[in-house]
Subunit: 215 residues, 2 copies
Amino acid sequence: MAETRPAPRRRRKEARPQELTAAALSLFVEKGFAATRLDDIAERAGVSKGTLYLYFDSKDALFKAVIQEGIVPALHAGEVLLDEYDDPLALLRAILLGWWERIGSTELGGIPKLMMSEARNFPDVAVYYQQEVIQRGTALLRKAVARGIERGVFRKVDPEAICSVLIAPLVYRAMWRHSFGPCCGQETDVAQYLHTYFDLVLNGLLAPAPGGDAQ
Amino acid sequence: MAETRPAPRRRRKEARPQELTAAALSLFVEKGFAATRLDDIAERAGVSKGTLYLYFDSKDALFKAVIQEGIVPALHAGEVLLDEYDDPLALLRAILLGWWERIGSTELGGIPKLMMSEARNFPDVAVYYQQEVIQRGTALLRKAVARGIERGVFRKVDPEAICSVLIAPLVYRAMWRHSFGPCCGQETDVAQYLHTYFDLVLNGLLAPAPGGDAQ
DNA sequence: TCTAAATTACTGACCAGTCAGTAATTAAAT
DNA sequence: ATTTAATTACTGACTGGTCAGTAATTTAGA
C-alpha cells in the first residue's frame, strides 16, 4: 500500500492571498457564496481551513477581497485605449472586444454573475462595485460613443442607455458560461456570436452615410 | 395591555401552494437559494414552517416548483403572436416588448437571475429550464427573425446567435432590477432604455433599403 | 534553538426536516 | 338544532447534521 503523501506543507506567505482568492472565486462563481464551504476553498488552494484565517478575517472579508482584487486592475487596460485609438468605430470595437478577451472569456468573467447573485446580500460591496467598476466602465464606453456621435460617425442615440445595451450581450454570454454552460451541452461558437453581435450593434449605431446622406 | 392576537389560523388548502411559491420566489431572488431560510418563507406566506412540508417534500422540491410554475405559462402568450402578426418587424417588436411586460418588468423577472445563480447547483432543473423555457423562447424569436430575412425586411444574419444578442439587453435589465437596483440608487428611465434598445437593434437588423439599395 | 506558518481538534450557532399535539372543519348521531 | 365523533390543516418545539470561526498543537525555516 503506497501511503498517500502526508502533506508538503510549504510556507509561502507571499503567494497565498492570490491563491486563496483565486480558489474562492471559482467556487463562489460555481456554487454561490452561501453554498460554498471554507473547507472546500482551502482544499482547492491546497491548504487547511485554519490557514484562511491567517489571511482573511472572515468569509465575508474573503468575498470582498475576491471582488476588489478581481476587476479593478482590468479597468486600466480599457482606459488607455481612449488615447490609443482615434477612429470612434475602431475604439468602440477595441473596448468591447477587449472586455471580452480580458474578462468575459477568462475566469474573471464569473465576477459579474457572482456580484449580481450576491448584490443584495452585500449592499456595501455592491455599491463599491457599482461605482468603481460599472460606472467607471460605463463612463469609458460613453466617451467612445460620444466621440462617434460628435464626429457624425454614429447616429444620435442616448449615450447613457446605449452603454447598457451594448455591454449586455457580452456580460450575458459570460454569465452563461458560468451557469447553464456546464450543464446544457452545446454552446454556440464564440467567434460566430461575437461576429453577429458586432455586426448588429455597429450596424445599428453607424450613421446612414459617411458624408451626408447618399450611399 | 391588549394581548397580541394569537393567530387567525386560516385554512386555505387551495390557495396555499401559490402563496408559498410566491413567497419563496421573492426570497430566493433576493437572497439566493442557500441563504434563504424556510422559516422566512413561511413567515412571509403567513404560515408556520411545518405547513411548507405539507405541500412540498423538501427545500429542493420547493425550488423546482418555483421555477416550473413560474415561467412556462408565460410562454404561450408569446407563441400565439406568430399568427397574430404578419409584418416581421411588428412581430419581433411585439415578442420582445411582450417579454418585457409579462416577465421582465414583473416579479417573474427575478427567475432568470435565480436560475442563472443556481443552475450549477440544480443541473436537472437547469436542463429542464433550458429546454422548456430558453430553447422554446429562442425558437420563437428565431422564427420571427427568419421570416424577416426571407422577406428581405431584415439583413442576413445568423438566426441562432442573433436571438441571444437580442434578448440579452432585456434579461440584463431585469436581472439588474433584482440585484443592483435596490442598492444603487437611480436606475435610468425604463421607457428611455427600451426606446434606445429598439432603436439600436431594429435599426441594426433592417435591410438597408425597402426595395433594392437606394435610400 | 526560537519564531512564524500551518494543521488539527474542537465549539457553538444555525437551520432543514420531523412529529406530537392543537385548532378548525365536516359528518354523524341524538 | 345540538352535541359528539372523526377528519384534516396547521403549529412549534425538538433533533441531528453542518459549518464558520477558534484554540491548541505541530512543523518548517532562520
